[in-house]
């Protein structure tokens, strides 16, 4: 059900009959669905990236490193801010998931951050990730009025079960250059079962 928009897009694109060359094949659907949540003007949410197709950079060995027959697919989610305002100077958040279902691989800060920015990520305890991306010193920060990629997080599946990835809103914040907290909603999501 939640894949409907992507499938619909595929149908519409394929249905555009013309003499033009055929467009490239669309990426496979993302292995992630963002939580439904009440609409919020300012939000930080997780958004799944399209799953790489076989042969599209994925190594065979990557899919079952444990040899237990369960494909250890990587799941990458973008951390996206929208409607936050003209000046984001720092972000700190925590995410929780069931560690027997997902493993944390890495966090990468988005290009919105300057080259001087401090980027820290650590799975402090199994299933709880602590992330900070922040500019240092004084500075205007960057504009996140529109949709802005703060960074990306990569996990591996450890099981066929679905797994939720949830923000800990009480320990998550965006700050402006003065240190003032920016009011945002935090919306995680779910890696679906296979």
């Amino acid at each position: 059900m939640k894949r409907a928009p992507a499938i619909l897009l595929f149908v519409l694109v394929a249905g555009c009959g013309s003499d033009a060359p055929a467009p490239p094949a669309p990426p496979p659907p993302a292995d992630f669905t963002t939580d439904e949540a009440p609409p919020a003007d300012s939000v930080v949410f997780l958004r799944g990236r399209p799953r790489p197709a076989r042969g599209d950079g994925a190594q065979e060995g990557d899919r079952d490193p444990d040899g237990d027959g369960v494909e250890a697919e990587r799941v990458t989610v973008d951390v996206v801010a929208r409607g936050v305002g003209p000046s984001v100077h720092g972000a700190a958040f925590r995410l929780r998931w069931e560690p027997e279902k997902l493993g944390f691989v890495e966090a990468r800060a988005g290009e919105a951050w300057s080259s001087r920015a401090l980027t820290l990520a650590r799975e402090g305890i199994p299933g709880e990730l602590v992330v900070t991306w922040t500019e240092k010193g004084t500075g205007d920060g960057f504009d996140a009025t529109g949709e802005t990629l703060l960074g990306a997080l990569t996990f591996t599946r450890k099981s066929r079960d679905g797994a939720a990835i949830a923000f800990r809103a009480d320990r998550s914040t965006l700050r402006d250059p003065s240190g003032r907290a920016l009011t945002v909603a935090w919306r995680g999501g779910r890696v679906p079962a296979r």
Binding site: H89, G90, A91, A92, F93, R94, L118, L120, R122, E123, G124, I125, E128, V130, V131, T132, T134, E135, K136, G137, T138, D170, R171, S172, T173, R175, P177, S178, G179
Partner: protein
Amino acid sequence: MLQEIAVRASIWLSSLAFALAPPATASPVALAPPPAPGDDDVLSSHLLHRLVERERSPLHVRAGLLGSHVPPAAIPRPPFVRGTGSALDCEHATHDITLDPTTGATNATVELRVKAARAPLGSISFALDAGLEPGTITATDRDASIAQAVFAPTRIVRVDLTPALEAGEETVITMPYSGTLSCASAEGGAVVCSKGADFSYFAHQSIFPYVFDTDAPNSFVFDGLTRDIVLRVPAEHDVVATGQKVAETIEGSTRVSRWAIDRPLSRVVGLYAFAGRLGLLPVGGRRVPTTLVFPAPKKAIDQSLVAWSTPALDFVEAVGGSRLPFDRGLSLVRLPQTIGDPGTATFGMTLLSDSYARTGDLMYEETWAHENAHLFWGIVAPETDSNESRLMSEGMATLTELDYTFGRHFASEDRDLYLARRLLPMGLDLRARGKDLPPVQLLPGTEVPDDFRTRRYTLWAYYRTAITLDHLRVTVGEELFARALGLYVARCSFVGCRPDVLREIASAESDKDLGPFFERWVTGKERPRVLVGFTPADGGADVVLTKDDDRPMTLELWLTLADGARMKRHVDLGPRTTRVHLDAPAAVAHVAASPRHDVLVDVRSRVDGDLDFDGETDGFDVLRCARLVGRRYDGSSSTGLWNLGETFDPRCDVNDDLTIDDDDLAAIAAEFGKLRAR
């Protein structure tokens, strides 16, 4: 002229072997330090260097002049170093002064009843304007021989008594003196008098001789002196003097006014007279007639001072726990900047230079509150020896000004955070420049640093004292502290008390021995480290507090609940590790100490890098410091009291070098991700 004076001084010094110390410490009641130099060149030179230095010199004799002629070994050390006090006990003085304020022509007599306290007293000295010369000085029941010298603009008259007064004996010394006031400038440009028809100013050491122990010129031991003053000036002059106005009559062409200081006061507390066409404005809303005195014509700031006076006086009375005992009247004086006197408080009189208007209304008003607070803290409740400590004079006046400004201008803020914010730069100044300062209360044998008589005095007398008092207030609780102050005033009024009295009262009221507190922070200067850890538990939190010694200590802990609510709990720390369960109605998210402890207690989380005391090191800790990278605290001016918006965060300064930089952030980042197990 300078050379001549120097020669005279040299001769006199060598012939009498009479060595005066350079000014050692402040008079008992001094002004709060001025705002940051650099912001204002005039303030920088006028206030910081000239006025404060002068204010600190009850004996206005040039240090440089004396220093060039007195071998260092001959300079007496302050009495607290020598371990002995002055034998001089001044009991009563009667001043009869005929003065032409316009020309400075003066014809006066002082009768001084003195007693030898605890030890023989063979000599006393007077300091007065160099233009006034003594006549024949007499002493009852003994011979009085005199010697004198001029240290422009001051004349020093030494009176040797033969035989010396034995301990407990007394005599009355009568000194007539006359001449024309020079009102010359002292080193740095300050004056002790200013002649004129419009607004003339006559301070201690001009028409009022300043009395001191020849053998202990810098002794400020409280002696309890009362005075009667008769001032005769041309009838066309208004006149206001220190003391309670007893009477004023016109006798022919002369206005005769009589003033009384009818409660025991330290002999070193300032005496003032003002004459001329004085600006006078009544201060409404006070039970006792209260008048603002200023140089006419009236300025806008005079109306502001009037408006500030009633709330300021009401506030200081509320803090002191009683009414000011000046039943006949109170004079509040705006001093013009030109006379170079920063201000002070004395018996029934508060004075403040309008130089402080440059600091802006808020700080001018606050300083006005500080000065008026001294009516209690230093005048009504004097210290036994203001060389020993300024805890209950400058410390209380400074604490009062912070509290006053909160009530008047920041009452909508969180009071704890306001106070912590005000104390922060004062503490940073202490860290920057005052680490090796002596403790709040000097003990016999304490070695005073050579450069003590500089801005470091401000750190010691104002900052450390006020910070310590607030720390005590948080420790014992607001209500108990307020009650203790009222009891202190009641016990110490016109008597003189040592800091120990506050300890005794607070201990009795709290039923807790505050000796360890005073050992740590009053006679000692510790900043003990306390580690705070906690585990959320049903109905509250299990808290662990660790320190490195066995002495007791009390901290006010703040429990921040998940919904942001704050609960305060006082916790007594025992030896080393203290474990306590603290009840709370909801999940506890943070356990920290009140930030008002921070300057004097190094409170840290047990988890390195956890700056917000939630027991974990996460992005909130990093974000707190990241934006401050590049910030440096410049404590060179020691003007933290004037700093209302300091944003330097010492918790981000991990290596304690007063700079927040990449190294500090790296140290915090190294601990990043330490989380409590679920």
